[in-house]
Homo-oligomer: 205 residues x 2
Amino acid sequence: MPGKEIPDIIVGRLPVYLRALRHMRENGQQTTSSQELGESVGISAAQIRKDLSQFGEFGKQGTGYHIPYLIDKLCEILKVDRVWDVAVVGAGDMGHALTRYQGFINRGFRITMVFDKKQELVGKKIGDLTIQSVDRMIEVIKTGKVSIAMLTVPATAAQKIADQLVEAGVKAILNYAPISLNVPEGVIVQYIDPSTHLQRMTYYL
Amino acid sequence: MPGKEIPDIIVGRLPVYLRALRHMRENGQQTTSSQELGESVGISAAQIRKDLSQFGEFGKQGTGYHIPYLIDKLCEILKVDRVWDVAVVGAGDMGHALTRYQGFINRGFRITMVFDKKQELVGKKIGDLTIQSVDRMIEVIKTGKVSIAMLTVPATAAQKIADQLVEAGVKAILNYAPISLNVPEGVIVQYIDPSTHLQRMTYYL
């Protein structure tokens, strides 16, 4: 990470700001304030100003933020001013839903390969993509220089597949399997497990 | 919330501990230490001890944690010592994947109703459930006293549906639509947006 180290909690809020700013732009809006942005994402204006100030001076006192400029800057900071190729491993219901999801491309991501270990799925199509055998995964990912993967295999298979992804050169794994993964330093894992999110809410009910 | 207020960041880690403890139990393990639990979830032993100490005394110096006991206690704290009914709104790919997902029931949740606004989907089955019209959603959720919903509708429809869910008495929304929701106090929203998670990782690549 170049320059000073930014707390990950702040990094995690930037994609949320970016998403809200894009909605504003889609609605034809050109400028916003930290107040307005804050209300739309449920975060205080002071927090937003503080978060953004970590990366530079993006707003002007009195006139607020120029939305297209701030979007460009956030895309640059988050490195989604380009499109990243993504591999999906596991062509079950969730793998299908993700592969068919239209919302990635304008957020900086494009699924370019899907793998499964079930021989009856290999060769079948999901949209334009052909499901490939997981036996060829390491080779195909290496050749394609793909550095991001989404893991939608059962929990029992997830660690083994994660090890193979790391071997293939993957540096970021979005893990849908309901299990914590052990990965070497330099590889990042984020988790999506709806039960975990639901349990975090039932605590308050 | 009864008693002292626990920071939400701590509450958010408990489901992860619970998930790891259950994996240990499934593997026949009876006791664990904060060191071992920490290694399996990627959180320091000190942090785990500190988090758990907020809720009581669960471990013994020298012998560590009795896994079945700690599981019971965490289930109680997170209120998943029962099974919660959950409504899914939006029967697209993601709604289908969630409704068919087998992983909810042993984590404290059971999807009991699915809604969509598309008339051609209403009446079709997902597993044992029949897709119902979103026009009847408020009434059906009220009658069923369902307090948790998962929202998998397009971003453009999400706020309107969220308002209706709140009107129906829903207190916790897991939102898959890529947009921030405004809800009144007393209603909790958690977000699952894979692009946001991916962007949080590309920052570091």
